[in-house]
C-alpha cells in the first residue's frame, strides 16, 4: 500500500513537470491563413476605352470625362487634331463589393449608355487560392441622334439600341503586371443591311505594366472575330498617372467612340495610315457613403 502511494506521488510529480514545461508561448504561434483578395489589378474601372476588372469603391460616385481629340495626321492646320473633340461624360457608382453601375452620354451619335458590372470570382490567396478574377459587364447603348427626315426608313426607338456583353477575365501577376482577356458580344437591334449579322463577337486583350509607383503603362486591343467592312481593330496605348486624389489616363488610339459598340466595331481610323488621336480620361471620385466602420470614428 505504501509503495503504491509513493508511486502515485511520483506519477503526480512527473506529470506536473511535463505540464508546466508546456508553458504557453504566444510568440511561437504560427500565422493562420487568412483570405487575401487581390486588389488594384488596374488603376481605374476602365483600362482605357473598355471596362477593366476593377470596380469603383463601394459608395463612391466617380465622375468620368473621356475625351478624344481629332486625328493627328490632319497636320498643323488642325493643330494635329486638337481642334476637334469627341467626349463621353459619365457617372459610375459602386453599389456593393461586387456590383457597380454607370451611365454616360457621348457626343458621338449623341449616344446614351448605361452599364452594370458584376464581379463573379475574385482573385485571391490565403484561405483559398484563386488565380484569376472574373466579371461580367453588360452595356446598353442608345443612339439619340435624329434621323434625316428625308430618309426612306424612319427608325423606331428600339432600332437605335445596341447591347454589349463582356466576360472580363484578369490576372494580376504581381504588383507590376496585369493581363486581361475580354470576350465580347455586341448586338445591334438594327444593322445597315440584311446580309449582315446582328451579333458581333470580338476578343479584347489588355494589360497594365507598372513603370513607377505613380505611372503605369496600359494597352488595349480588340480582335474582331465578326467584322463590319471598312473598319479596323482598335488599338490603344496609354499611361495611367496617379495623383493623390485621382487617376489621369493619357493615351493614343485609333478609336473615336467610347462605347463598346462604337470603339470595338466601328473604329474607322487605322494606325498604318496615321489615323491616331490623343485622348485622356479624367476622373473625380466623391465618397457618397462612408464605409460603416468609419462612421463611429470621431
Amino acid at each position: 500500500m505504501k509503495l503504491h502511494k509513493s508511486i502515485h506521488i511520483l506519477f503526480v510529480l512527473l506529470f506536473t513537470k511535463t505540464i508546466s514545461a508546456q508553458e504557453v508561448d504566444l510568440f511561437a504561434i504560427k500565422d493562420e491563413k487568412v483570405e487575401d483578395i487581390t486588389t488594384a489589378a488596374f488603376k481605374s474601372s476602365r483600362v482605357i476605352n473598355g471596362q477593366s476588372i476593377e470596380n469603383v469603391g463601394v459608395g463612391v460616385l466617380d465622375f468620368k470625362i473621356l475625351h478624344r481629340f481629332g486625328n493627328i495626321n490632319q497636320g498643323a492646320y488642325n493643330l494635329f487634331g486638337l481642334d476637334q473633340a469627341s467626349m463621353r461624360m459619365g457617372l459610375d457608382y459602386g453599389v456593393n463589393k461586387r456590383m457597380m453601375v454607370g451611365v454616360g452620354r457621348s457626343t458621338f451619335e449623341k449616344q446614351f449608355d448605361g452599364f452594370v458590372k458584376y464581379k463573379i470570382i475574385q482573385q485571391q490567396t490565403g484561405l483559398r487560392e484563386i488565380p484569376l478574377s472574373l466579371s461580367l459587364a453588360s452595356t446598353i447603348i442608345y443612339k439619340s441622334l435624329k434621323d434625316d427626315p428625308a430618309a426612306a426608313y424612319l427608325s423606331y426607338t428600339s432600332d437605335k439600341i445596341s447591347f454589349a456583353h463582356q466576360l472580363i477575365m484578369a490576372r494580376k501577376f504581381n504588383d507590376y503586371f496585369t493581363l486581361q482577356f475580354t470576350p465580347t458580344l455586341v448586338h445591334y437591334n438594327l444593322i445597315a443591311n440584311s446580309t449582315l449579322p446582328n451579333d458581333f463577337k470580338s476578343l479584347g486583350i489588355s494589360f497594365r505594366q507598372r513603370v513607377s509607383k505613380r505611372v503605369n503603362l496600359t494597352g488595349e486591343y480588340f480582335y474582331r472575330i465578326d467584322k463590319l467592312n471598312g473598319y479596323n481593330d482598335p488599338l490603344t496605348l496609354g499611361l495611367d498617372i496617379e495623383t493623390g486624389g485621382h487617376v489621369f489616363q493619357l493615351h493614343v488610339t485609333n478609336a473615336t467612340g467610347m462605347t463598346e459598340r462604337t470603339f470595338i466595331n466601328e473604329t474607322a481610323g487605322s494606325w498604318s495610315n496615321g489615323d491616331i488621336r490623343f485622348g485622356f480620361n479624367i476622373t473625380r471620385a466623391f465618397t457618397l457613403k462612408k464605409p460603416k466602420v468609419l462612421k463611429n470614428i470621431d
Partner: protein, 178 residues
Amino acid sequence: MKKITFLLLSFVFIQFATAQKVYSTKAGQLVFDATGEAVKIVAVNNQVDSKFVETTGQIIFGVLIKSFRFENQLMEDHFNENYMESTKYPKADFKGYITNIKEVAFAKDGSYPIQVDGVLTLHGVSNKISVKGILSIQNGVPNIKGDFKIPIKQYAIKGSYIGDKIAETATVKLNCKY
C-alpha cells in the same frame, strides 16, 4: 476506488495549478491616422488579432494591412500598393510583454495603467517600442486601450508625400476587448 479518486483529484489540482489563462480576440479595433497638411487620411481595421497570457503578461497583436478601410478607395489602394507594399508585407505585428501584469487583479472590476514593451514589425522592419495603455476589467472581461505614434520613415516606408500631404508620424489608436 480511493486510488482512482486520488488520481482524479491530482489531475484536477494540476490543471488548476498550471493552466495559463490566455485571453484572445480577433475583432480588436485599430484606428490609423496619418493626416498631413490637408487631406484627412484615416483608416480603421476591425480585425485586430490579439492574445495575452494572464500570468506572464506576454502579448501579441497582428493585423492584415489589407483590412484597413479608408474613406476613399484610391487612398486604400495607394496605402497598400505604394506605401505598405502589402503584397510583399501582408501583416504587421507586435510581440511583447505587459511588464506590470502582476498589478492587475483580474478577479475584480477596475482600470489599470499598463506598460507594454516589445517589438513592432511593420513593412518588414522591426523596431523596439514602448507603449503605455489602460487595461480595464469589467465582469471578468479585459479591455486594452492605448495609442502610440509610428514615425513612418523608421519603417523604411517611402514616398514624396510623407511629411507633406501625409504626416511624418502616424497616430495609432488601439481598442481590444478580449
